[in-house]
């Protein structure tokens, strides 16, 4: 029964993704088109004939609504079109070039945040209301409060410029160039996950079944590992969706500061240069990732939480 319930829930959630995607594409499309100026309004003023030809080539002469439906048709075939700004590049190629970089940093930051965050949170919960707990939570609050665009320059200044241990930026897939960006990106997530884990762990540790486990003489680390960990991690799991969104947003800044050729840097450049197709491509691409991750997190949460029932109606 429960399995079926989860399957049904999954199917209905999958269907629900479609309107979300449509709204995402629609808002992004019309928003960027409302912007004054177009991709060909550069520093060089083009002769009107050439301009007209360019407009025809990219279908910019058509009514907006027709362009919109043309774009929808295009996107169904996963074709994001050519980039206006990077000549001879399609948006698909740019995404294929930038995304692996962003994914590597983001993925590593996420892993680091998950393991370190939960570990710190558990330690704080086990030492609740001691000096250890207070200092961990104070530092965690700092981690949440200090913006990553402040952390990044400070880290560069201290670690790269003054100490000279690591390069200040750039990208060549080497570990030493990944360390600073990954740490910067992971920091707020570590702090947030630590706070979440601590809060839920404290609550779980006060429940009756934990008292039972202790009463039968289980050592504390086994109590945590076998009984308390899974329920205590539930809020962390549901935070993973928003955390991904935050990491992606953060990567926009991180990639700029550390001069990393990821997708986020393309987005900012594209938005400033009215590169319609590139901006749309990145927004839709990242939008799909965030939506899908939220979906996976939701399913995972349902699967992990025995208290959720889907077949109440039956």
């Amino acid at each position: 029964m429960r399995q079926e319930g989860i399957l049904q829930h999954t199917a209905s959630r999958l269907l629900g993704l479609i309107p979300t995607l449509l709204v995402l594409i629609t808002i992004a499309f019309f928003l960027i088109r409302m912007a004054p100026g177009g991709p060909f309004d550069g520093e060089k003023i083009l002769p009107p004939e050439i301009r007209a030809n360019l407009d025809v080539k990219y279908h910019l002469d058509e009514p907006l609504i027709k362009q919109y439906f043309r774009y929808l048709g295009q996107i169904i075939t996963l074709d994001f079109g050519p980039s206006f700004q990077y000549k001879d590049w399609t948006v698909n190629e740019l995404i294929a070039r930038g995304f692996p970089v962003s994914l590597t940093i983001g993925g590593l930051a996420m892993l680091l945040a998950f393991f370190l965050g939960t570990l710190i949170g558990i330690v704080a919960a086990m030492r609740q209301n001691t000096a250890v707990d207070y200092s961990i939570m104070g530092v965690a609050m700092l981690g949440i409060s200090i913006p990553n665009f402040v952390v990044a320059p400070l880290l560069i200044l201290l670690v790269a410029v003054y100490a000279g241990w690591l390069p200040a930026g750039g990208w060549d897939w080497s570990a030493q160039r990944m360390v600073l960006p990954v740490i910067t990106l992971a920091l707020p997530a570590i702090a947030y996950i630590a706070r979440l884990t601590r809060g839920s762990m404290i609550e779980v540790l006060h429940s009756n079944y934990i008292r039972t486990a202790r009463a039968k003489g289980l050592p504390e680390y086994l109590v945590i590992r076998r009984h308390a960990l899974k329920p205590a991690l539930l809020p962390v799991i549901s935070f993973m969706g928003p955390a991904t969104a935050a990491l992606i947003t953060g990567s926009v800044v991180i990639e700029r500061i550390y001069s990393i050729p990821g997708l986020g840097s393309y987005f900012v450049q594209g938005a400033l240069n009215r590169d319609y197709t590139l901006v749309m491509g990145v927004v839709v691409f990242y939008g799909v990732i965030i939506i899908l991750l939220n979906f996976i997190v939701d399913i995972l949460y349902a699967w992990m939480n025995p208290r959720i029932r889907y077949n109440e109606a039956q």
């Binding site: 992004a28 004054p36 938005a271 939008g287 965030i290």
Partner: protein, 305 residues
């Protein structure tokens, strides 16, 4: 917290109250006393009050103007002799005054954009919650859809599209930040409208408007206030983020984000241009978060995060 001490303090307080005269303590008074016991929140409150005062009065009493370029002291380190306590940037502008003026913008954006999101979120959530049924389902489905969108990208798009005017920053950030508020208010309203005291009011023949005004809204305020304090730092952060990317406020106006951006460019030769604005920004966010946390503990003791 040390429980026994807490209870004693509580008792002493109660005893004092009884000796004075017997009078009911409202939820607000209770919450206020709980907040005052939270040392982190109280210290944060004092720091924020000082910060607010500095930001408002500082630029007025300072001998320097924010856009005055002191050509004798460009990129000079902090010193008392030159009169530039926080040093100057590469064109000789006083960092202290610029930091304080930037703080005005940052705090103003934080407050105004929060009010925008408050207005949208509370009315949307209250309507959805109070009317319920089909209206509620459609309205909340819309929130769900918007919730899944990459919000920061939309703020960036909005800034690019509508230009970088300060009023638009308020609206753009506020307009995408109301979703949480709407959800929270709706949930509260749903719970409240089925409570006995609302039912009693209805039985007495009080009309809908009066019920919302006199019974629902006052009971929402606690949660809303907690959320507002937690929203302000978020919005200050978003604004700084935009300004850092060069999409926020424009010169000669400045905000902490823009100053951090400027400072990050000169940090190797003049680290003070980065450190002071960054410190002000971080301290502000830190304090707001602590105040928000303290308010949550005070007003909603169930939530123990």
């Amino acid at each position: 917290m040390n429980n026994s001490v807490d209870i004693q303090a509580e008792d002493a307080f109660a005893a004092a109250m009884i000796e004075d005269d017997i009078r009911g303590r409202s939820l607000w008074v209770d919450a206020w006393h709980r907040l005052l016991k939270n040392r982190a929140a109280v210290i944060s409150g004092i720091v924020m009050a000082t910060m607010l005062l500095l930001v408002i009065v500082g630029p007025v009493v300072s001998p320097w103007e924010g856009d005055f370029t002191d050509w004798d002291n460009t990129s000079s380190p902090p010193s008392l002799e030159t009169g530039h306590w926080f040093g100057t940037d590469s064109v000789g502008r006083d960092i202290l005054v610029r930091t304080l003026e930037g703080g005005r913008i940052s705090l103003l954006v934080g407050l105004v954009a929060t009010l925008v999101s408050l207005a949208i979120g509370v009315s949307y959530g209250a309507v959805a919650g109070y009317y319920g049924g089909f209206t509620d389902r459609i309205m909340m489905r819309m929130v769900d859809i918007i919730y899944a969108l990459p919000f920061m990208f939309f703020v960036i798009l909005l800034m690019v599209v509508f230009g970088r005017h300060i009023v638009l920053i308020f609206v753009a950030i506020g307009a995408v930040n109301w979703l949480d508020m709407a959800r929270i208010v709706r949930g509260q309203t749903l719970a409240l409208k089925n409570t006995e005291f609302v039912e009693a009011a209805r039985a007495c023949g009080v009309d809908h408007n009066a019920i919302i005004r006199r019974h629902i809204i006052p009971n929402l305020l606690g949660v809303v206030m907690v959320y507002v304090t937690l929203t302000i730092p978020q919005i200050i952060l978003v604004e700084s983020f935009l300004s850092f990317l060069g999409l926020g406020v424009q010169e000669p106006m400045s905000s902490w984000g823009a100053l951090v951006n400027d400072g990050a460019q000169d940090m190797e030769s003049a680290p003070w241009t980065l450190i002071f604005p960054a410190a002000f920004l971080t301290v502000t966010l830190y304090c707001f978060n602590y105040i928000g946390d303290g308010m949550r503990d005070a007003l909603d003791p169930k939530d123990r995060l």
